[in-house]
Amino acid sequence: MKKGPFLPKLKKDLRRNRGAYLMFLPVLVYYLIFCYKPMYGVIIAFKNFVPTKGILASPWAANHGLVHFISFFKSVYFGRLIRNTLVISITSLFVTFPLPIVFALLLNEVRSRHFKGVVQTCSYLPHFISTVVVCSMVTLFVNEKGFITHLLVQLGIAEEGFSLLTNKDFFVPIYVLSGLWQTLGWSAIIYVAALSGVDQELYDAARIDGANRLQQTIHVTIPAIMMTIIMMFILRLGSVMSVGSEKILLLYNEAIYETADVISTYVFRKGLVDSSWSYSAAIGLFNSTINLILVVSANRISRKLAGMSLW
C-alpha cells in the first residue's frame, strides 16, 4: 500500500469501492450502537449504580471504585468460575475448532457436486435451530429416559435411572458435543470458501512432482488456507474467557453448578436475578479485559511465529 495523507486516500478509496463501503455501513452502525455506545455504561462497575439516578449521578463505590472487583476476587466462587469457564471454553476450542477444517478438507475431496451440496446443507441446518430448541432436545435426549442415556447405560458408562444432567462429569461433554453438532457445518463454510479459491495450477504442479492426494492436501491445500485458519484462531482465542450464557442457563441446574457455572451465567444471576448491577458489570469488565489481553497476545505470537497476524 502506498503511503500518503490518510483523508485524501480514504476519499479516493471511497469513490472507487462505493459498493463495498455501502455493504460495510450496516456493520459499522451495528458496532457503533451495540458495541461502542454501551461502553460508556461500563462506568457502573466502579459505582454503586442506582437506576433512577442514572449512570453519571450514581455514587462512586468504596475503595476508589474498586470494591466490586475486590469482592469478586475474594469470592469463594472466583476460582471455580475461572476454572469452569476455561475448561468448557478450551475443550470447545479443541473440539469445535479443528473439526470444521477437517470437514471442509473432506468436502473438498468429494467430486460429486450433488452429493457435496446435500452433505453441506444437512451439516449446517442445525445452525438455524434456535438454542432454546436445541437445549430442549438435548434435555430430552439425556434425561433418565432419553436415548443417549440409554445408550450410555448399555455401554456401562452411565448409571440407570439418572438424568445425565444431574451428573457433574457429563456436563462438559454434553455442552461441547451438542455445540459441535450445532456449529460444524456453519463454521466449515468459511474454509470451503477459502478452499475454492486455491489455484488449480498448484495441484497440477504437485501432481507432476509425484505428490499423492494426502501430500497434496498437506503441502498445497493447508498452506493455502493457513491465513484463514490463523485469523479464525485468533478470533476464537479472543473469546476463550467468554462462554455464552444462553446455552448453559438452559442446561444447568444447582446439582452441577460445580462444573457448569461459568462467569457469564454468574453475571446473569448477579445482574438480572439479584439486581446487583454494579457487581455484575465489574465481573463482566474483568472478563472482557482478559479477553482483550488474550487476543492481543495471540496476535503477537502469531506474528512472531508464523509471520501472519490480524493487524
Partner: protein
Amino acid sequence: MNKRIVSIALAAAMTSALFLSGCGSDSGSTTATTAPPPQTTAAGKTESAAAETTAQTEDTQTAAGISYPVEGSPTISWGLLRKSQWSDRYDSFTDLPLGKALQERTGYTIEAVHVDNNQAMNLMIASGDLPDIFTYQLMNQYNGKEAQAVKDGIIMGMTPEFLQENAPDYWAYLEANEDVKRALLTNDGEIVAFAFVREPGASRSVQTLMVRDDWCEELGMELPETADEFYAMLKGFKEQLGVEIPLALPIGHLQGALNNGFLTQPFGVLSRDKYQVDGKVIFGYMQPEYKDVLAWLNKLYEEGLMDPNFTTMDNDTLTAYMLSGDSGATAGPIGSMLGTYLTTNKDIEDYSLAPIKPLVANKGDRPKFGHMQNLNVGPNAYITMNCKDPAAAARFLNYGYTDEGKKLYNSGIEGVTYNIVDGQPVLTDLVTNNPDGLTTTQVLAEYTLSWDGGPFEAKESKYELPEQQEAFKMNGDTDAALYKMPETVIADEDSDEYARLASEINTYRDETEIKFIRGEMSLDQFDEYLATLDRMGGSRLLEIEQNALDVYNSK
C-alpha cells in the same frame, strides 16, 4: 473474479451472522409474546354483564369520601406481569373482563404496560422508564427490599397525610391493622405500597404435605406424624405396593418443604430458613442439628424412596407422577397442587390424597412451625416517581380497599362469576365447571385478582374440597406465629454487604445440601460445611439479621 464473488458472499454471510447473533442475544428478555386473539365469546358475554353491574353501582359513595367512577376520566399507566393463566387467550389486562369492569367502575382509563417475567420487570426498573404504577414483589426482587427502592427514588414513599387524603379506605385498613402497617413502614415513617392484604384474622398457611391416604389404608397404616412413620410409609409404598418413586419432591418443592419446617422439626430444627426464638435470629441450615435432617433425606435418597432426578424434575413431571400413581407423597400449595390433583382425578375411584401436618418429633406433638405467608407477601402496587399525578394514582389504587372494589378483585362480577347466597358470594358454574373447559384458576384470572394478589384486601381463601379445607385448618394450627421472622428492614449501611453475603451463602448452601442428600459428600464433612459457611461470612449475616430484628421490635 471468482475470488471476489466468494469474498463478497463471505462478507455478506458474516454480516448477517452478526445481525442474527445480535438479535439472538436480546431474545431472552422478550420471548414469545405473540398471543392468539382473545376468545371473543367469553369476552363478549362479560362486556354486557359488566355494563349491567356498573349501572347498578354507579356513583357509589364510599364511607370515607371518594366516589367512583371519578370525574374527569383520568388515564393511568400500569406495569404488570403478563400471566400465563390468561396470556394464551388475551393480549392485555385491559382486554380481560376484569380490566374492562375496573375501567368502567373507577372511571380511569388504564394503559397496561406488560412485561413477561421477573427479569424483564427488573430491567424495566433498572431502566428508570417506569409507568405511573406497577404491581410486583419488590420485597423479594429488589436489593434492600421496598424501603431501599424508596431511597433509590424508584417508588414513592407515602406519608400518612397523603394516604388519609387520597386513599382513605386503604388508610382505614392500615389504622385498624397495626401489624400490617408496621410491615409496610420505612424507618422514616412512610408507607411503601398499596399492599396485598388480608381480612383481619385470615389464615396465612396455604401449603401442605400431602400423601396417598388410600395407600396408607391398604398398608394398614395411620397417616404419618413423625419422621420414622413417614419413612415407614414411603418404604411400604415402595416395597409392598411397588410404587416407583414414593416421594416426589422437585428441588424447589423440597426447599420449600424444608423452609416451611415440614420435614425439619423431628430433628430439632424448626425450619431450614431463618426463624426467631425469643427475639433471637436462628438460621436453620447453620445449626448442627441440621445434619440429622440431611442424613434422613440422604437415607430416603439412597433407598430410592425419593426421585433420583429431583434436581432436574419439572412441575409437569411432578403432576404426572402424582396423578398416575408413580408417586404417593409430595408437598406444595393447597390450591394449585392438592386441589388440582383431586379435581383432575375426581372420576378415578381408587384415588385419594390427604394433607398431613408438618412432621414432628413425637406422635401427638403440636407442630411449632409450618407454612405461614408474610403479612406483606405481595404482589403489591407501587406509585413510581415517574407518576405525574400521585394523588390520582392513589385514588385509583384505593378502590381495592372499598367494599365494591374488594368484591370485584376477590370474586369478579356479580351474576357472572358469583351470586350472593345467604350473604356470602358463591362462585357460579362458569368458574367451577367451565363450559369451555377452563380450570377454575383460568376463569378467576379473567375476572379477579384473587388467584394472584394485588392492591386489594383479600377475603380468606375458601377452598372447595373438604381435603383442602382440612389442609388449610391443620397447617394453620401451629405455633409458627411465635417463631416466624417478621418483615424486617435491613439497615441502609448493611444492605450491599447483606445482599452479597446472602446470595453467596444461599448458593453454597443449596449446592452443598444437594451433595449431602445425593451422597456426593459424606455427612462427616458437615462440620467442614459449617466452617465454610462461617468463613463466607455466616456469622456476619446473622448479625445483620439480628440488628434488623432488634430495630423492627423497637419500631
